[in-house]
Symmetry: C2
Subunit: 202 residues, 2 copies
Amino acid sequence: MARQGDAQLQQSADPLRQRIIEAADELYYAHGFRAVGMDALRQHAGVSLKRLYTVFPSKESIVLAVLDYRHTMWADEIAAAVAQEGTPRARLLAIYDYLAGWFRSDSFRGCVFINAFGELATESPAVATKAADHKREFRRFMEQLATEAGFSEELGDQLMLLAEGAQTTAAITGDSAMALKARRAAEALLSVAESTRTHSVR
Amino acid sequence: MARQGDAQLQQSADPLRQRIIEAADELYYAHGFRAVGMDALRQHAGVSLKRLYTVFPSKESIVLAVLDYRHTMWADEIAAAVAQEGTPRARLLAIYDYLAGWFRSDSFRGCVFINAFGELATESPAVATKAADHKREFRRFMEQLATEAGFSEELGDQLMLLAEGAQTTAAITGDSAMALKARRAAEALLSVAESTRTHSVR
DNA sequence: AGGGTCGGAGAACGTTCGTTCTCCGTGGTC
DNA sequence: GACCACGGAGAACGAACGTTCTCCGACCCT
């Protein structure tokens, strides 16, 4: 048992593995998954093909590792964005400011889980599951934020839908102002919810 | 000039062309674009490879034709869904009931433009443009619906974001109830907007 | 009836894919 | 100094890709 813990720790700290994942993340996110071959990945990661296959048994396992990597990165960053806000209202709106910064980055190309789902879900059930898990967890996160602020779970779902819509629309149209539009919609939903709030905040 | 018009008319009425597009639409939408080869398309359309290439010069041109096909289908259907509603409020909410029906269909796998963008946008600028055009037109459609009902354009943008978020979330999680959640959010936004409406409906 | 265009089936072409293998140099161990 | 485990570069492999070509049978025109 302790051995397993060590192995996991070592795995996520393995610099070679991490380098491959980050290179794969950049290429897959920028060009799509099938568009990037193992040779391009090998070159971009600066790793020989042989070593690549000692760390990962297949391309699919790399894709799944990239999705894990993106998931924890996303979870950590939105948690941090929320954590630095004081009021329940500000905590619920923090997500849209985080999105605004993300949308403005040069590499932004939408949500990698949506992209992976569209391209690979049918042929790789593992990818489909990971994408569903990611969205489910984000939904739970927003629901929790909502209930902690004394609102209904439903409000969390609604704020989640706005965030999702902003991601895809900003990606395709290139209009990073979608984050602000989603924020203003969220503010309006909050103002409705506040007038029918179930309980006062603890 | 009249000849060009004839050619266009004939083109969109060409049953062979239409059969190829519909077969391609089914396969691309279900499995992704790169995952479906020309041979699978040939087989599913019941058309020889030679004839396929007399109608379309390349795979990319088929992809673009499929996107055109989906765009007009989408535009016609949401226009029809809106048209059978009487009140401005019902017209604005009709989109979510249309989405609910779509989400429940077996073949539903999200928005094909989002999927195409994620998979092909980097390598095919034409695909990226068509996806952006589609989203831009849907946004304009919702904005127009909103202003016709006496609301701000901004409200139309917000309702659009909810619809987009519902599409991706329903696709990935398989939860068709997202349409209803988006609808309830839209109702809340409408109730806010009604209290600050700029002008009465004509 | 015979000449010629058309299209079907599918082989062929060159490329690229994911994955494995071969060759070879290097560095550590007894 | 001989041995060996390791890893780098990239060739090799079979499959699949998008696209073109070859062959051949079926139908049209006069």
